[in-house]
């Protein structure tokens, strides 16, 4: 099965008794960078909580902030709710709009975690519910959010998505046939 990028529209991608894959609606997505000494100042200025540990997620209203690395946070917010982006920050930092870089897929179902083992070399169970990580799925870098025990979100660069998603769809059927 080949999925083209233009075939990808929000909604159901694949579904079986084992798991479901849905594409989600677009969101506002920003990469925020700042060094540790400035973290607090930047957080205060943006009025966002910037978690300290890699993999931790903080929520401020509907805005989620995931720590991806020692000086890097991924900010996800509903479209149009990006007031933080226009606030003045005096401390050195970088804020870059990457809303259109990735597509997001939700992976749910009793075997959601197993489905990820088709392409994730790291143990999906090493990501606790409520956390997220940047990792690898097949040949693509992805950001994997674990929203619940059997509930994952995968952000993946637009042009890598068809390949990864068709593998996920294949896996949905394969897992259900076991």
């Amino acid at each position: 099965m080949t999925i083209h990028p233009h075939d990808l529209t929000p909604g159901k991608i694949a579904e079986s008794a084992a798991c479901k894959v849905h594409m989600l609606d677009p969101v506002a997505r920003f990469s925020l960078r700042a060094h540790e000494p400035e973290r607090k100042a930047v957080a205060d200025a943006l009025e966002l909580d910037l978690p300290w540990y890699v993999g931790d997620v903080a929520k401020t209203g509907e805005t989620e902030v995931l720590n991806l690395g020692p000086d890097e946070w991924l900010i996800v917010a509903p479209e149009g709710q990006t007031d933080f982006a226009s606030r003045t920050v005096d401390a050195p930092h970088a804020l870059t709009d990457i809303s259109d870089r990735e597509l997001t897929f939700r992976i749910t179902g009793p075997r959601a975690s197993d489905l990820l083992t088709l392409g994730c070399p790291r143990d999906p169970d090493s990501i606790k519910p409520g956390q997220g990580r940047r990792t690898l799925f097949d040949s693509a870098t992805v950001v994997l959010w674990r929203d619940g025990e059997n509930d994952f979100r995968m952000d993946i660069w637009r042009s890598f998505a068809p390949h990864a998603v068709s593998l996920l769809a294949l896996g949905c059927a394969e897992l259900a046939a076991e």
């Binding site: 990028p5 970088a94 259109d100 294949l170």
Partner: protein, 997 residues
Amino acid sequence: MSKFRVAGRGRVRHDAPVSFTFDGRTIEGRQGDTVASALLANGTHLMGRSFKYHRPRGPVAAGSEEPNALIGTRRGKGQYEPNTRATMQEIWPGLTTTSQNKYPHLKFDLGAVNDRAYMLFSAGFYYKTFMWPASFWDKVYEPFIRAAAGLGVSPTEEDVDTYASRYLHTDVLVVGAGPAGLEAARAAASTGLRVTLVDEHAEMGGALLSEPHVQIDRLPAWDWLAEQIAELQDMGVKLMTRTTAIGYYHQNMVGLCQKLTDHLETQPHDTPRERLWRVRAGQVILAQGALEKPLVFDGNDRPGVMLAGAAQTYLNRFGVRVGDEIAVVTSHDSAYHAAFDLADCGSRIAVIVDTRALVDDALVAECARRGIPLKRSHTVTGTAGRLRVKSVTVNAVEGGHVGKGRAYKCDALLMCGGWTPSLHLFSHTKGSLKWDADAQTFLPDRMTEACQIAGAGRGLWGISAALQDGATMGAEAARALGRDAAARALHAAHDRPGTGASHTELPTDQPASRAKAFVDFQNDVTAKDLRLAVKEGMRSIEHVKRYTTNGMATDQGKMSNINGLNIAADALGKPAPQVGLTTFRPPYTPTSFGAFAGYHRGDHFELTRRTPIDGWAEDNGAVFEPVSLWRRARYFPRPGEDMDAAVSRECRATRASLGIFDASTLGKIEVVGPDAAAFMNRMYTNPWDKLAPGRARYGLLLGDDGYIRDDGVIGRLADDRFHVTTTTGGAARVLNMMEDYLQTEWSDLKVWLTSTTENWAVIALNGPNARKLIAPFVDGLDLGDDALPHMSVTECTFMGHPCRLFRISFTGELGFEINVPARHGRAVWDKLIEAAAEYDITPYGTETMHVLRAEKGFIIVGQDTDGTVTPDDAGLGWALGRKKADFVGKRALMRPDLVLANRKQLVGLLTDDGETKLEEGAQIVLDPDQPKPMVIVGHVTSSYNSDAAGRPIALALIEGGQGKMGETVHIPMPDRTIAAKITSPQFYDPNNDRLKL
């Protein structure tokens, strides 16, 4: 029912007949049979031919170590595979199997003529001949040798099955589900750990499947087995049958190959044929048991000669007697039990020949009770029978002297030379082995991984010992993972562990040089081959192996390695441990390519990146080309157009009016932070301090070796923000290089890098009408020369979308690059096409882009440069910020070879006849009449038919070319030599008039 099938015996379903074919003959077996057991049940031992001598062969083993009984198996079109082990392939209705390596028939094979001339084909014979005349090797001898070699035939159709792969993380992986593995898994799982237990066979149980008489915890072995498996399931142990641990890799990563459908009549939907598991385990327990050793004597390879343990398995697991009249030759107690079980099921035991003088009294008594003739201190010196063993010659051995032989009639001969721990996987870890003189075998010594070895794998024989050791090692593994664990003790009754002696070749009264005493059955390596290799100076066991090919057959030496070592050691007069063992290599058993490829086939082989506008190109007939992982539209042919015609039209239309190009694949990096300009100054050759926000500049990136790595237009959006573009293929490499310098050399800089390649769809509009087309969509933005001059960038709204609008040109025409958020790219493109109907808008692809830029003399990194080109070579010296103290590559440009005057430099090239288009890659010489090898002074890097120039144009790298303007050079082609003049690389509008509004 065939007379060899024993009613009620074994684990096959006697009430479920299954028919399949072997060489066109329909064979009836039972559900649960392998091809080998079913054929044996029908009295057929002859299943294949050997590699070199084409000798008739039957199964010698009952498991994956089988070297002889290799068959072709076929399900349907695209579902044939050669060299399948008949001993492992389960039967199902309709399975088609064929014998191999025979012509014309299995029973009459012309290739067997080799067997007659076997003295010629001694070890290494091919190194010593076939050398005259010299030209005959690849024309005559080699094709002949190749045709004779090989086993089965390769598949010739594309595989229709699918394959899969997964990662699995487990606390404990247990390999082998015999008594030791089962107990190890239980002990580890009882502490709450995640445990995975795998076995290569169709069902778990290992040796227990062949020894039903054993009682464990007062339960018959098979009842205990069923309970144990149920218990493991309840404990959440992941149980995997038909799953072979193929390789043991770094830090407890073990590869497994699980066969999912080869045993099924109907392949279920959505189920792959095989799945590769990449298991990462906290602890690995290897419980792979031991392999029985054949004995080495003349004629030990005839169909009907097999390992005693295999015969026991055929009887007890499959309910098949391997013969009516059976002889046994052994140096180990275990063969007696096979004989006793067969005798009790109606076979006559013609004789048991034991090489030992002393045999356990209980075994002697059991022989006597059954009336089995027992010959102690005897040897076997030969067998007879062409397609099946008919008799065996037995001789007494007294004081080292071999007495007169006596022939015993038999239709099967069982042999047992003792047991060897199966340590292949352990060997993959580079763990070391130590020689156990008592057992005459290697045992595991130093571990390099978090690994335990349980049961027969470390020389503990018998079911009781295996159960106990399994429990101990399971608990050991659990403790290593921080669990409190204790081993339980189980009692096994009727266990039959034994002892034995080890041999090289069995004593014989025949001349050694004439004996066909096989060590490696499949590769036809005999004991005398091994001795010859040693005689010829092969002293390392690796040399012996390679010279004779002993141990290199598809059983990977499972049958032959220890016997080969003992014989080589004997020939060298050294103890075995000093001779050493050859290294076992993964995979443990041969494994389908399909399993390794997994999902990565066809459309899934490797991802293809497509831009948001790719769909439009596809719908409009674009011809694509792969560029790194992307596919890009190369040109858009109209009906009847070839590439040249399409490109010529696209070029003409763009220069005349308007062309549109999808530039989305260009790499984009956002460089942000207070030190952004400082970073750019260090990274790129150009100076950046004076570039005002809103302006753009061509940037050149070198490596610290001074050679050009990448280039691209860079726009300054704000004091602290640059929009950097890179080549399509260079995007990831450039970002990685920047991160490397930033993080490790210049970590003081407050600047950060973000890839925005995929955030933006990029539409390039080029041509005199470009401005007119976009003017209505820019929401009142001033597009005039003052507000938005050539080489500038602005953030604006385009068709209502946020946009970064560049005024730049890679074509020499008035040009704009519209960056809009990727999701809107297609809509913006569509609307532009629609709005531009009046301008005869022409979509063009990479080929036209290449022509248009070449007409202007702009380089393509990777085409006009090749990793050995400096900025000065490429005529880009102007892009060097020579006043800067440093930039990446600056120091290297001062190296002696990089400042030579005669370096290859980029120039234009025009053929003298004005019509000939040079071939890209064609080589340039000054003197066309010189002999080969010629002195080559350069090569053509780019060459096109230029519509704008009205003639072919080319770019070339030529030694000292920039100082040779106007000079003539020559391009020798196979059929003629072309003369051309060196020119400036700018062929069109050298004053850039067309960039103006």
